[in-house]
Each structure stands twice: as structure tokens, then as C-alpha cells.
């Protein structure tokens, strides 16, 4: 493996000579950070994973359950006769991203509201998803307004008497919607978008740059010359990967600092978790790049392949918009891209301070990618060293 050092050094020399690539490597990430940070739209959100904790069981609780179940905005999970323990578990599930929101319909909701007494329905939303949170609040807000209007009408009909403004307010709107935003209380959109943007940039950088490296050797006819040296396929693979791995790490730090300075995105997670996610994502993406490079005959072919891989990843991975906004039919495709796991895990780590255990699924998926792409690349290099 001592030989690898020389190969890595040579790769650095290539980079230094190829100024255009170097500029691309160092400048593009910053430009993209700025561009993407400002230019994010507001797509329609559907099927938000919402748990409804029904502690009332009465007529108005049923109205809420009915309204939530019939709305496309929600993908509800109804818990009847919910206990305090179940409310606590919902809070934990919110933190680990098993659900995106939960609603507590309090005990005595129907009784108090019918009597015109003030009562509070709580909705707790994961604010790190800046698309889903407002949608949840909007939907529940309109349900509440509607219920209050019915109640007010009922009260007037039943009592048939004039009321003072003071009393009237309670009678007209006995149900109060109490909302609590977790993890991103200001609903700052950059907090949601920036982890995704960092993922996109790393994806673009790693796959494109790596995909041309072996294709370039092949184009120049130097692959044969490498193959007759005692370098093993594994050494060639690692030696080629190492410089790009280090540069990708540098870019990650650069972009995260920019995100903090320009957008005030407080990227504060547990460092080992953040590092584990970044490293496994970069390695997996570089592995994909190498595979593309090995199957490509020349550089332009490699770049085309790389773009072909990257574009769907960009659109589907949930980097800009939550994966929940994708139609159900294409969502499984998203799980073919490491970017999907990275965005989810990275967001959890940065915004919800997820632990290594919380993001184990995403980490595992990305490590599988690393093993698969590394293994396949080395096997392919061994099978056809000159690839003709």
C-alpha cells in the first residue's frame, strides 16, 4: 500500500495541471450554495405522517379524526383512548422522524366545547420540515375554525339569547388550537434546505470528478501502462479515490461554514454523527463515480453517465423538498440513491441532534453502497485491466 502514496501524489499533480477542474472543484460549491439557498420554491405537501392521539372519543374528536383522515395533506395514524405514555412516545417518535406531527385531542374536548368552555387541541409539528409544518397548521386551523362555527351556531340556537362580546368570544370559539414547533421553531427554510443543498453539492462533485479519473487514463492509453505495474486493482482503486476524498471533505467544511455565515444556519449536531454521515456518503458517491469510470470508454461518456445518475438523485432524493411530496409510485426509486439517505440522516443530525443510533438505518444504507460500489469496482478492474 506504500505505492498508493505515489499514485495519490500523481493524482494531485493532475489536478494542479488541470486548472479548469481545480476551479470547478473549489468554486462551484460556493456558487451552488448561494444559488440553491435562495432559489427554493414551495411545493404542495401531501401525506404528512401524522399521529392523532384521541383522548376524548366524543363527537368533536371524531370530527377532527374525520377531517384529518379525509385530507390528502395527512397520512394519519389514529390512536384511540390514548394515554399519557402514548403522548410521550409520540414526542420521541417525532424526534426520531418516525412521524412528522402529532395531534392531541384532550379528554373532555366534546363536553367542554359543547358547554362553551375553552378547551385546547394541541398540535406538535417537526419544524425542520419547513414545507410540512405550515401545511399541518393550516389544515388543522381550518378544521378548528369550522368546528367553532358549528359550536357557535348550536349555542345560539339552544340559548336563543344575546351575549356580551366577552362571553361571546368564548362561545364563538371555545376550541383553541395550541401549536408547538419543534427543532426549528422559527420555521426558517434554510434550516431545512441547507443540509439537502450540501448533499447535492457533494453528490455533484464526487460523482462527476471521480467518474472521469479512470476514463481519462483509458482515453490517454495510460491504463495499460498502469496495469503492467505491480499495482493491484485495489491499490489503483484506493489511490485514485484518496485525493478526491480529501478534497470532498474540504469542500464539506467550506460549504457548512458558508451556510452558517450567509444563512445563519446553525449546523450543530453531534460531531461524530455528522462526520460518520459525511464520510460514508462521500465514499459511497466516490464509489459510484469509480464504477461509472470503469464502465466508460472515455471521459465524455463518463460525464454523461454521471449526470444521468445525478439528475434523478437531485429530483427524487428529498434534498430540496421533502420526499413526502413525491408521488408514492416514484418514491421507492429515491431509495436507490445514497443522497436520499444522506439528506434524511444529515437533517436529523443537524436539526434534531440525532444520535448515531437514530441514524443507524441511513448510515447502514450508505455503508452498503460503499461496500457494493468498492467491491464491484475492484472486481471489474481485475476482470478487465485494459477494458477493451
Amino acid at each position: 500500500m506504500r505505492n498508493v502514496y505515489h499514485l495519490a501524489l500523481k493524482e494531485f499533480l493532475h489536478l494542479w495541471r488541470d486548472r479548469r477542474t481545480l476551479v470547478f472543484l473549489l468554486l462551484t460549491p460556493s456558487i451552488l450554495t448561494v444559488l440553491f439557498g435562495y432559489a427554493i420554491g414551495n411545493p404542495k405537501v401531501t401525506a404528512i405522517r401524522t399521529r392523532v392521539l384521541d383522548r376524548d372519543g366524543g363527537r368533536i374528536a371524531n370530527e377532527y379524526v374525520e377531517a384529518i383522515s379525509s385530507s390528502l395533506t395527512f397520512k394519519p395514524e389514529i390512536v384511540e383512548d390514548a394515554t399519557e405514555a402514548e403522548v410521550a412516545r409520540a414526542e420521541e417518535d417525532l424526534r426520531t422522524d418516525r412521524i412528522a406531527a402529532y395531534v392531541v385531542l384532550p379528554e373532555g374536548l366534546t363536553r367542554d366545547a359543547d358547554a362553551g368552555r375553552s378547551v385546547r387541541v394541541r398540535v406538535i409539528v417537526d419544524g425542520s420540515d419547513t414545507f410540512a409544518a405550515p401545511a399541518v397548521l393550516r389544515e388543522l386551523g381550518s378544521t378548528t375554525v369550522q368546528q367553532n362555527a358549528f359550536l357557535a351556531a348550536n349555542l345560539r340556537v339552544r340559548d336563543g339569547r344575546a351575549v356580551t362580546t366577552e362571553e361571546g368570544l368564548h362561545q364563538v370559539a371555545p376550541i383553541e388550537l395550541g401549536h408547538e414547533l419543534r427543532f426549528n421553531p422559527e420555521l426558517k427554510s434554510q434550516n431545512f434546505v441547507m443540509p439537502g443543498v450540501i448533499g447535492l453539492i457533494l453528490q455533484l462533485l464526487t460523482v462527476i470528478v471521480m467518474s472521469t479519473s479512470i476514463a481519462r487514463e483509458r482515453e490517454r492509453g495510460t491504463m495499460d501502462q498502469l496495469a503492467v505495474t505491480p499495482l493491484t486493482p485495489a491499490e489503483i482503486f484506493v489511490g485514485k479515490l484518496l485525493p478526491y476524498f480529501l478534497i470532498s471533505l474540504l469542500v464539506t467544511i467550506n460549504v457548512m461554514l458558508l451556510a452558517r455565515w450567509l444563512f445563519g444556519v446553525s449546523l450543530q449536531g453531534h460531531y461524530p454523527v455528522v462526520a460518520a454521515l459525511v464520510v460514508s456518503f462521500i465514499l459511497g458517491s466516490l464509489g459510484v463515480g469509480q464504477m461509472i469510470s470503469i464502465v466508460s470508454r472515455n471521459q465524455s461518456q463518463a460525464v454523461q453517465l454521471a449526470v444521468t445518475f445525478i439528475l434523478p438523485a437531485f429530483v427524487l432524493s428529498g434534498a430540496f423538498v421533502p420526499i413526502e411530496t413525491q408521488p408514492e409510485s416514484v418514491r421507492p426509486v429515491a431509495y436507490l440513491f445514497p443522497l436520499t439517505y444522506f439528506c434524511r440522516g444529515f437533517r436529523a443530525a443537524l436539526l434534531r441532534q440525532a444520535t448515531m443510533f437514530d441514524v443507524r438505518g441511513d448510515l447502514l444504507a450508505m455503508l452498503l453502497f460503499v461496500v457494493a460500489t468498492f467491491g464491484a469496482s475492484v472486481l471489474m478492474l481485475r476482470a478487465r485491466p485494459d477494458a477493451r
Partner: protein, 327 residues
């Protein structure tokens, strides 16, 4: 100085030929690039591997260097099996590809040091080796030039330097002088002889038949098969009585007419001279009358007919023609 450059620390496999193949074959889809090649190349010699484009020369070299798996057959290179001892072969042999295959954006020195590094030659040893080889090949002045900016002759010498970085016992050179001017070709060959004298075996493919004459022994490839091998002089001798010269003004008409003659394998034009190759050995005086007669009939009378000393080129054309008519 030459001795220092060419001396080799250990020489395992004493007495083994440099290359020994048995029924070596390689198929690409429906094409037999190399079929049933059995070849022996002695150590300490320059072996010329000849044949037209697509004859299977490069495919053979790639198999011998471990770049390509043979479809069938076996081979030993520098005493090692090409299937099972690939790593030992890589350390014992050098390979200079047909096309320039160094890194154009690295300097000569960086290229050399890189290849040295992957063979485990670094530090003082690399410095020493660099000085030695660059001085020997006369390329010291281009140390800091980017390889891509060099002209053909310099490039070839730099490529040779890089192939020699680990002092290989056997050197494969695929068209080492292609696209190089005659004086540079001369220099290159002088250096190859120096290498050979130092004990390195050389396996060289070339299109230049005058270069083939300089080899200790040659092999002719055609259509993936080895059709002849031996010392150039011995091979030329085989044509001794099959070649007849004729001087004529109207060469094209005469050639056309003589090619149609039964027993004539081929006719080649050299200025006003036609070189007529027969399928079988002939007595030149006996066939002269017939040649005159046929040429006369075509309106291109021959001035005179005489015996010729065959060259490898005649041999090459003869073999190629014989093969073409046979298939």
C-alpha cells in the same frame, strides 16, 4: 556506464527462454486475433515480431504482459506462468505501448518518479536511477518539460526510460519507432543493442523491415498465426531462388501482365525494377524467356532479367501473398 544501467541484481530462472508460448490463442467475439501460437524467444536476444496491422502482434504482447487473458494455451515469460505468476512477470518485464502512454500533464521527471514509485523505487534510489537512465538515454535536458509537449523522438525515449525504471530482464516494445525520424530511429536501435548487450532480452514489434534485419531472430505473424520464424539471414535464404529481377520502362503494365503468369506469387515495383516472386524456386535464366514474352505482349518490353538478393521485405510480401492465395 552501460554496465551499471543494465546490470541486474538477481537473475532467477537461469536457462529459461525469455518467452515460451504453447498453442496460445485469443478470441475476440468471432475473430481469432491470435491462434495456436507456439513461439520461443531466447534470452539476451532482440526478437523482432513482424506482421501487418491486425496480425495479432499487439494482442500477443498484451497476453504476455498480463494485460489480456488468453482464451486457451499457455505461456511462460521470464520463467513465470502468465496465468498464475502475473505479479512476478510484472516485476521482471517492462512494457512500452504502441501509443504514447505517459501522463502528458506531468513532467518527464514526474512521470519517471511515478512509475519508479509504484515499483517501490523511491528516495535516493529513485534519484540515482533517474540520473542514470536519463543520462544514458540523453534526455536529461527535458527533465522538467511536460511530457505532452515533447516531440516524437523525445517521447519515445522518455517512454523507454519509464519502461526501464525497474531494470526489467525482458522488455516488450510495441512499435517503438513508429512515427520517429530516421536519425532518432537509429539512436533508439543503438540503445536497444546496448540494453541487449547488458543482458536484457527484447521483444520488439515493428513495421520497418529494415529494422527487422537488425534483430537476432524474427517471427512473422499473419492473420493471428505465426507463419515463419528464425534468423533474418536464414529466412532470406529461403527466397534465394524464388526471386527474379526485371528492368522495364512501363512498370505498371508489365506488373499487371506478369502477375497473371502461372507460378508467379507477386510482383513489386521498385522504380524501374520489378521484383518477381515465384511460388517455387526457379532457375532465373530458364524463366527469363517467358517473362520477356509476356511483357512484350502487354506492350511493356523488359530491358533485362537478372537474379536478385532477397530482403526481408520480399519475404514478408511473399508470405503475405502466399497466405492470401491459400485462404
Amino acid at each position: 556506464m552501460v554496465g551499471a544501467l543494465l546490470s541486474r541484481p538477481e537473475d532467477s530462472g537461469e536457462g529459461d527462454p525469455a518467452v515460451q508460448t504453447r498453442s496460445l490463442s485469443r478470441r475476440f467475439a468471432a475473430i481469432d486475433a491470435v491462434s495456436d501460437l507456439t513461439l520461443r524467444v531466447e534470452r539476451g536476444q532482440i526478437f523482432g515480431f513482424l506482421g501487418p496491422n491486425g496480425a495479432g502482434k499487439t494482442t500477443t504482447i498484451k497476453m504476455l504482459c498480463g494485460l489480456l487473458e488468453p482464451t486457451s494455451g499457455s505461456a511462460r515469460v521470464a520463467g513465470c506462468d502468465i496465468r498464475t505468476e502475473r505479479d512476478r512477470i510484472k516485476r521482471a518485464t517492462g512494457y512500452m505501448a504502441q501509443t504514447f502512454s505517459l501522463y502528458p500533464d506531468l513532467t518527464s521527471e514526474e512521470n519517471f518518479r511515478f512509475f519508479g514509485g509504484v515499483y517501490g523505487i523511491q528516495g535516493k534510489e529513485a534519484d540515482h536511477r533517474l540520473d542514470e537512465v536519463f543520462t544514458q538515454l540523453g534526455i536529461d535536458e527535458i527533465r522538467r518539460a511536460e511530457a505532452g509537449t515533447l516531440s516524437g523522438g523525445w517521447k519515445q525515449r522518455l517512454a523507454l526510460a519509464c519502461a526501464l525504471v525497474h531494470s526489467p530482464r525482458l522488455l516488450f516494445l510495441d512499435e517503438p519507432t513508429a512515427g520517429v525520424d530516421p536519425s532518432q530511429r537509429q539512436r533508439m536501435w543503438d540503445f536497444l543493442y546496448e540494453l541487449c548487450e547488458g543482458g536484457t532480452s527484447l521483444f520488439v514489434t515493428t513495421h520497418y523491415l529494415d529494422e527487422a534485419e537488425r534483430c537476432h531472430s524474427v517471427g512473422f505473424m499473419l492473420g493471428g498465426r505465426l507463419i515463419a520464424e528464425g534468423a533474418p539471414a536464414a529466412l532470406r535464404e529461403r527466397l534465394r531462388h524464388r526471386l527474379v529481377g526485371a528492368e522495364v520502362q512501363r512498370v505498371v503494365e508489365a506488373t499487371r501482365a506478369l502477375r497473371g503468369l502461372p507460378g508467379v506469387a507477386d510482383v513489386t515495383i521498385h522504380g524501374f525494377e520489378l521484383r518477381v516472386l515465384f511460388d517455387e524456386p526457379v532457375d532465373w535464366e530458364a524463366v527469363a524467356g517467358r517473362l520477356h514474352e509476356v511483357a512484350e505482349g502487354a506492350g511493356a518490353p523488359l530491358r533485362r532479367v537478372y537474379p536478385l538478393d532477397p530482403t526481408l521485405e520480399d519475404l514478408f510480401i511473399g508470405y503475405a501473398r502466399g497466405h492470401a492465395t491459400a485462404t
